[in-house]
Structures are given as structure tokens and as C-alpha cells.
Subunit: 222 residues, 2 copies
């Protein structure tokens, strides 16, 4: 059975929109995510259900089958491995890799991915701190919290981003923040819940609560 590029993108979208609860993904949320009309989504859901990649009940939302989930995870694996390649080998910046990986993730060759994985040293995290599932589809999730949930002045490690837009990533770069960096919360303004942090020897940086909610961290020594 062959799966088209379009079908792959639907499968991936369903995976991303799936909650850990067993509640089905709604047609509208897929419609928004994929920027297709809801009626187009319905058409595709019927097709994916025929192929046993999803479980679909009219009006009731949709869930991936095991088969569908495997496909989704494999695409994500490919996407993130290519992102590592683009960053580590071709020196792209972390805000440039996603769009190109969106294309590369659809290249069909299991052997290619196996070799790419080895070539890159079997990385476990992509340039944005997201875990790369292994060949069997296992994610190695490191638990993190958004910076704005941290209410104490602590030493912090920056381990991921919730927002993946180019402008957000570029902004973080501009204030000297990269994945793995340690920084210190110097002050929390309890009026607007904004932060002042100090990255290495840089000056203090002001971070709005909105920004802080998209910065995923781990508290040092914990």
C-alpha cells in the first residue's frame, strides 16, 4: 500500500493534534492546522479510514490506528533527523531547518534514514530540543516546564521551545539563547509576570510572560 505525500501530511497532523486522552481529533482542528477546508478534511478522513490508518466515526473525530501512528512517528523521525543534518552538517541555523525538513521528511527510503541516523551519530534530540524517536518508534521524552511556571529565582537550563516560528527562534538567538544554555532568573515582576534573566555573561534580558510560556526549561540540579 502506498501513501501519498498528502496523506502523510494528514497523518502527521492527526498525530500532532492527538491528546494523550483518547478523545478524537476534530475535523475543524485539522482544517485549521492544514489550512484546508473542513469538507476537504472529511473527504481525506474517509480515504484514510479505508486504508485502516485511522479510526473514524462521522461527527465523532478521528484517532490513529497503530499502523497510522507508526507512520506518523516515522515521518517525525525523518523530519527531525534531517533537521539535525541541516544544522550540524550544512550549518543552517535552527530557524531555517524546519521548512526544508518538511520536504525531506517525505523521501521514501528506509535505508537512507538508517544511514543518515548513523552518519549523524544517532542523535536523540533535534535542533529545537524535540526528541527523535528511535527505529522502533520510541520517544525519549525529557520532562520540561515552561519558564513562566517557574516562580523562584533559580539556575535554569533551556532545553526546548514550544513555539517553532522563525521569528520566535530568531528572537531567542538575538538575545543569546540557544538549546542547552544555562541561565539565571534574576527577577520576576509580579505585576505582569515578566522575567529578567541573565544568560552567561550577557546583560540582563527582559522576557514577557508570553515569551516565557514558550521557553521550555529544566531547573538545574533537580
Amino acid at each position: 500500500m502506498t501513501i501519498s505525500l498528502t496523506e502523510e501530511n494528514y497523518i502527521k497532523a492527526i498525530f500532532y493534534k492527538s491528546n494523550s486522552n483518547n478523545i478524537g481529533v476534530s475535523t475543524n482542528s485539522l482544517s485549521n492546522h492544514l489550512k484546508n477546508k473542513a469538507s476537504s478534511v472529511t473527504d481525506m478522513l474517509k480515504k484514510l479510514a479505508d486504508k485502516k490508518l485511522i479510526r473514524y466515526k462521522k461527527y465523532k473525530g478521528v484517532l490513529l490506528t497503530l499502523k497510522g501512528e507508526k507512520i506518523a512517528i516515522n515521518i517525525i523521525r525523518k523530519h527531525r533527523l534531517w533537521e539535525v543534518f541541516l544544522m550540524e552538517k550544512l550549518n543552517f541555523s535552527w530557524d531555517q531547518v524546519h521548512d526544508i525538513a518538511e520536504q525531506l521528511e517525505h523521501i521514501k527510503s528506509e535505508e537512507l534514514i538508517k544511514r543518515l541516523d548513523s552518519f549523524l551519530g544517532k542523535p536523540t534530540l533535534d535542533p529545537h530540543g524535540d526528541p527523535i524517536p528511535d527505529e522502533k518508534g520510541k520517544f525519549n521524552e525529557t520532562k520540561s516546564i515552561p519558564l513562566n511556571e517557574c516562580k523562584i529565582l533559580k539556575e535554569i537550563i533551556f532545553i526546548g521551545v514550544k513555539n517553532h516560528t522563525i521569528s520566535f527562534l530568531k528572537y531567542l538567538t538575538s538575545i543569546g539563547l540557544g538549546i542547552g544554555d544555562k541561565f539565571k532568573i534574576e527577577a520576576i515582576n509580579d505585576f505582569d509576570n515578566s522575567y529578567q534573566i541573565k544568560v552567561k555573561k550577557n546583560n540582563l534580558v527582559f522576557i514577557s510572560n508570553d515569551l516565557a510560556s514558550n521557553i521550555l526549561i529544566k531547573i538545574k540540579n533537580e
Copy 2:
């Protein structure tokens, strides 16, 4: 103007079928090459002509415009760079790279190709000895002759293949022949125009005329 993957494959096919003489490529030859029906080819030729990528006169065959040619050469450049990547960095063998490169050549990012080119050390030849056009589209052709045109017992350098099928490439590998190898013609059988050659310290290998016609060589010290 965007060019679809399908259109790219037609443009590439037209480029490959173009003779150095200014004779148009026929509908049937494209039909054979692409394994599409002639009627489908005609449809696409109309579309490509509308986009000014080809010059097309009904019943008269087709020629690439300068614009079309540029696109064709760029696709070939991408294809061959990816082949080098697959072979040099991911250790694929020369018979495995083509099919994957057929997919990779359609990835759209000029920046990606620029960086890939640098990463690979700006190679000028692909794994099959074919020239890689530079950023400006210039090919650096090295002149070669098919082995079966060489009628004297000489020292030879193997510099390319005319046939790119997996089975042919695998066979060459099995007799110890790889691009750049030097070998000596030990005998030419004038009954069937077959060859006996000696690769390095290996035993003698018998090469049929048919095989020899697909082996591109350069005579050593000439």
C-alpha cells in the same frame, strides 16, 4: 511561477532526449522515456509551452527554451550532488544512489544545494563519472570513448558508464571495475569484438562487445 514535480521530470526528459543538432524531441521518445502514453505527453507539452519552458510546434517535436534548459540543468546538478552525498557520506554503493536521488533532486531550496555543494567539496563528477554542472550551469565535459571503439592493446582509465542500470553497475563492481580504475587491454577477439582486460592484479576478465560499448574510457597518457 511554480513548477510541479511532474513538470520537472518532463523538462529533465526533454533535456536528456535533446540532440546537439537542433532537431526537436519527438512525442513518442518522451512517451517511452517517461513511460506515459503519447497523449499524456502531448497534454503536458502544451502546458510547458504555455509556461515558455519549451518551444512546441504540433507534430514537429519540442525544444527547451533557455529558461527550460536552465531548469533542467539545475535538476541534474541537484541529482548528481545528492548522488555524491549518498555515496561519499552515507556509504551507499554506486548502484543504489540513483533511485534515491530521483526523489531528492526535487527538493526546493537553492540555499540547500549551495551548502550541500560546499559540504561535499564542490565535486565535479558524480559516482558514475558524469559531470556535475556548476552554479551557473556549466558542464565540464571530459571527452571519453566507449571501450569497444578502442582497437589497440593499451593502458586504459575507466572514467564513466553509458548504461546506468543497477544490474550493469553491479556487474562492473563484481569484476572489480570502479570509476577511475586503470586497466590494460590484454586481447581483442576480432571474431566477436570481445575484450580481455586485466584490472590491477586481478585475473583476466572477458568483456563482450555489448558490455564494452557501455564502458567509457580514456587512453592513458593521451
